[in-house]
């Protein structure tokens, strides 16, 4: 194994050229160790069908934690080195490799900063993982209302002045969490918000699930670590190229890393997958060495697609022109979000047509928009197919514009904390009969996974109408105990 000699001063590129976990796995393979430990498939021999599906290389790397490969719950060697390199690459003090998705990274941020009864300030359009964490730890959410874009009906960023107002009303809050960029690419004024949060001695947490590339690309919106945030959750598997379910948690400003590790270990598996860990290791190396070039290409492809789609007419592929200095401080141009109601179709309808008729799978469609995920794996000819299919959909399926419910977001009234609502006595009611009741569970369209209702919130007719409309248009409704979402649990 090529181990780094720490006494030799190396430059950034030399250091980042290493992938310690990957190198250790390669070395381990050569030793042909006889396994009398888990996993029981024993390098795949016990499960030939799995080998046929995943390949020998893949199953042979599915091994247990052991001395030469370190242990994610208590890293002392190669995983520790990999985490140090990750921290360096992202400009953070510490980095944690995560195997429970960015969900676990977001939850760890909240659990590490809030105790039962503590207040946490966050916009309501956060991912469900954040509100789930409040159910787990008993913290009380204080919601900042995000503005909605009147034309395209998406939730925008958070205005620093509003954050300051809320902070002044809730001076004992422990932390502020914001999602930046949003799924759609909207960015808030992260630097100013962070400064305000720190002036009031609170922790700044950033759900950066859609922002891995902000650490490596050029001329992109500011990233959380650079803005001075205390913690950030990074979905490496989204724009970073690692395997699904792998993620990174970053900490900064002297956060107690050992305590954060303890918090992570409360819920994290003790049998972390080396496929996930090594994919983080290799992807970090790739981003550190070639990220600037790769994301430059992604930006060019996204901008080209935006121009071409806007030239079709009817569609609106939005970009930097949304920037207004407040609710849209910046726009992440790697995103390709398209408003579709200009051709008389909802986003979810276009999403279904692309898949069923044109064999094109995009990230999601909501009531008014679709989002196509552009990444380091794309090619310009695939972009041409997407644009070509959108032009054809307009030609063949365009409808006369009709009024459609807009706004993907309705600010609900919070009556109870998520935890006390979740654990209250509940009853099941047909969804149409729940108006006026307090909701005891989540309901959301997935993707994007932003709750329409969370435990403890008052159900209104407007919200029920929105839910029924979304379902009629083919959105997948999730989160409720009743899998069909015909019934909702409400508090007795």
């Amino acid at each position: 194994m090529i181990r780094r000699n720490k006494t030799v001063k190396e430059n950034f590129v030399e250091r980042q050229s290493h992938a310690p976990v990957y190198e250790a796995l390669e070395e381990f393979k050569k030793k042909k160790v006889v396994p009398f430990d888990v996993p029981g498939h024993k390098r795949g021999r016990g499960n030939p069908e799995l080998v046929a599906l995943l390949g020998e290389q893949c199953v042979s790397l599915d091994v247990n934690s052991m001395k030469p490969l370190d242990n994610l719950c208590h890293p002392v060697s190669v995983i520790q080195e990999s985490e140090e390199l990750t921290a360096e690459a992202f400009g953070a003090e510490c980095a944690f490799l995560m195997v429970g998705g960015t969900t676990s990274a977001v939850q760890s941020m909240i659990l590490a900063t809030c105790k039962p009864g503590d207040e946490i300030i966050l916009p309501r359009n956060v991912h469900k993982s954040a509100i789930n964490a409040l159910v787990l730890c008993g913290a009380i959410p204080v919601y900042v209302e995000p503005k909605t874009e009147p034309r395209i009906g998406i939730a925008l960023g958070v205005d620093p002045n509003e954050i300051e107002d809320v902070i002044k009303k809730h001076p004992k809050a422990k932390a502020v969490l914001i999602n930046n960029p949003t799924y759609y690419g909207i960015c808030s004024d992260l630097k100013r918000i962070t400064d305000i949060v720190h002036q009031h001695n609170m922790k700044m947490l950033v759900d950066e699930a859609h922002g891995t590339h902000l650490y490596f690309g050029e001329n992109l919106p500011i990233n959380a670590m650079k803005a001075g945030a205390d913690m950030a959750a990074i979905s490496m598997h989204k724009s970073g190229g690692s395997l699904t379910q792998s993620s990174i948690l970053l900490t900064n400003n002297g956060m107690n890393a050992d305590y954060v590790r303890q918090i992570i270990n409360l819920t994290q598996t003790t049998s972390a997958s080396y496929l996930l860990i090594s994919s983080l290791d290799i992807s970090r190396r790739n981003l550190a060495l070639r990220g600037r070039e790769s994301f430059g290409k992604v930006v060019r492809m996204a901008e080209y697609a935006r121009e071409e789609i806007n030239a079709i007419g009817g569609y609106y592929a939005y970009g930097k022109e949304l920037v207004n200095g407040k609710s849209v401080f910046d726009y992440d141009v790697t995103k390709l979000s398209i408003y579709t109601q200009g051709i008389g179709l909802t986003g979810i309808e276009v999403y279904d047509l692309l898949r069923d008729e044109y064999d094109i799978q995009i990230e999601f469609g909501d009531i008014g928009n679709i989002l196509a995920y552009i990444s380091i794996g794309d090619r310009i000819r695939d972009i041409e197919r997407l644009v070509g299919a959108l032009a054809e959909i307009k030609r063949i399926y365009e409808k006369e514009q009709r009024p459609i419910i807009t706004g993907d977001y309705i600010q609900p009234e919070v009556v109870l904390s998520p935890q006390s609502a979740f654990y209250s006595e509940k009853k099941r009611l047909p969804i149409r009969e729940t108006v006026g009741q307090i909701c005891a569970e989540f309901i959301m369209c997935y993707p994007p996974g932003i709750p329409i209702l969370a435990p403890g919130e008052r159900i209104t007719k407007e919200i029920i109408d929105y839910i029924l409309f979304a379902r009629e248009k083919g959105c997948s409704l999730q989160g409720t105990e009743d899998l069909n979402a015909d019934y909702l649990n409400v508090i007795v």
């Binding site: 044109y358 000819r381 197919r385 070509g388 032009a391 054809e392």
Partner: protein
């Protein structure tokens, strides 16, 4: 010296052709191109290891995609060719004086250069003043084109290579839009003999049959194709390849050919039973789909 070029037709079948010389090898943004000389097939152009054409059997292909629609459509003025960077099809169309414009869309400039250098005879037509070459992606070119062409040829032959976009529903739909109300589209329909190629052939027929009112398939024998057998699609908004076929009129044009004859034109649409069966199966499936959708909207 034993030097053999091999192309896999399936995992279990390969075609090997003796070569005596490699004349060119180069890589563009789109593909690796090789030109080799072979005693049996003459010079061959190879893209990413697959034969694009050989001097010996190129004429079959060029004539079948050109003369078949030309003998059906009564007044062709404007022709559009996709992926015809090797120039063979354009050269064949250039033999018709009544054609006013031949537009050729080819993403890879290097393919045109290499073809011009090593296959001067076949690329002769590219120098014809009626031929315009657009170096761009086919889907990109089509987006803004509407009701313009009498004939469109999809000359790309690999549904899984860099031109896979030319075998999609969005491409065929865009061609429909780009054709005039009596336009004809000719496209590669693959070789259905081997099991692994069958699905590509079926799915192509499904897509086109759904879009065009007339959708027929015809065949030719091409030695370097898988199983030596190749199908073409004839998709049209108005004309039927046999009912609207005018052999006497075409014969008067006195076009010199080596493969195509007016007798062969009719025969080429008479398909083997197994091919007919698989095409009819797809037609039945599509009709059922349309019926279901109509009921749904009711």
């Amino acid at each position: 010296m034993e030097l053999w070029f091999s192309e896999f037709h399936t995992n279990n079948v390969k075609l090997s052709i003796r070569s005596d010389e490699q004349l060119y090898s180069g890589e563009s943004d789109y593909q690796r191109l090789d030109v080799i000389n072979t005693p049996e097939f003459g010079k061959m152009l190879v893209s990413d290891g697959d034969i694009v054409f050989s001097e010996a059997d190129e004429f079959v292909y060029d004539e079948m995609v050109t003369h078949v629609p030309m003998a059906v459509h009564p007044h062709v003025k404007k022709v559009l060719i996709f992926g015809g960077g090797d120039g063979g099809v354009a050269t064949c169309f250039a033999k018709y004086p009544e054609i006013e414009e031949i537009d050729l869309v080819e993403p890879d400039e290097m393919l045109v250069e290499v073809s011009k250098k090593y296959f001067p005879e076949q690329t002769e037509g590219l120098n014809d003043p009626r031929v315009h070459i657009y170096y761009q992606d086919g889907l990109h070119f089509l987006r803004t084109v509407q009701n313009e062409y009498d004939i469109i040829i999809n000359d790309s032959n690999d549904p899984f290579g860099h031109e896979e976009g030319l075998f999609t529903k969005e491409f065929f739909g865009s061609c429909y839009k780009a054709l005039k109300d009596d336009g004809i589209m000719i496209y590669q329909h693959g070789s259905p003999f081997y099991d692994e190629d069958e699905e590509a052939c079926r799915s192509m027929h499904r897509k086109v049959y759904r879009i065009f009112p007339v959708s027929r398939v015809y065949q030719a024998h091409i030695a370097t194709c898988p199983a030596g057998y190749w199908l073409f699609g004839f998709a049209s908004k108005k004309y039927h390849p046999l009912n609207d076929f005018d052999p006497a009129k075409w014969k008067k044009k006195n076009i010199e050919t080596w493969y195509y004859t007016t007798n062969l034109h009719v025969g080429a649409f008479m398909l083997p039973k197994y091919v007919e069966d698989l095409l009819e199966e797809e037609e039945g499936r599509t009709k059922q789909e349309i019926k279901n959708e109509l009921e749904e909207t009711k």
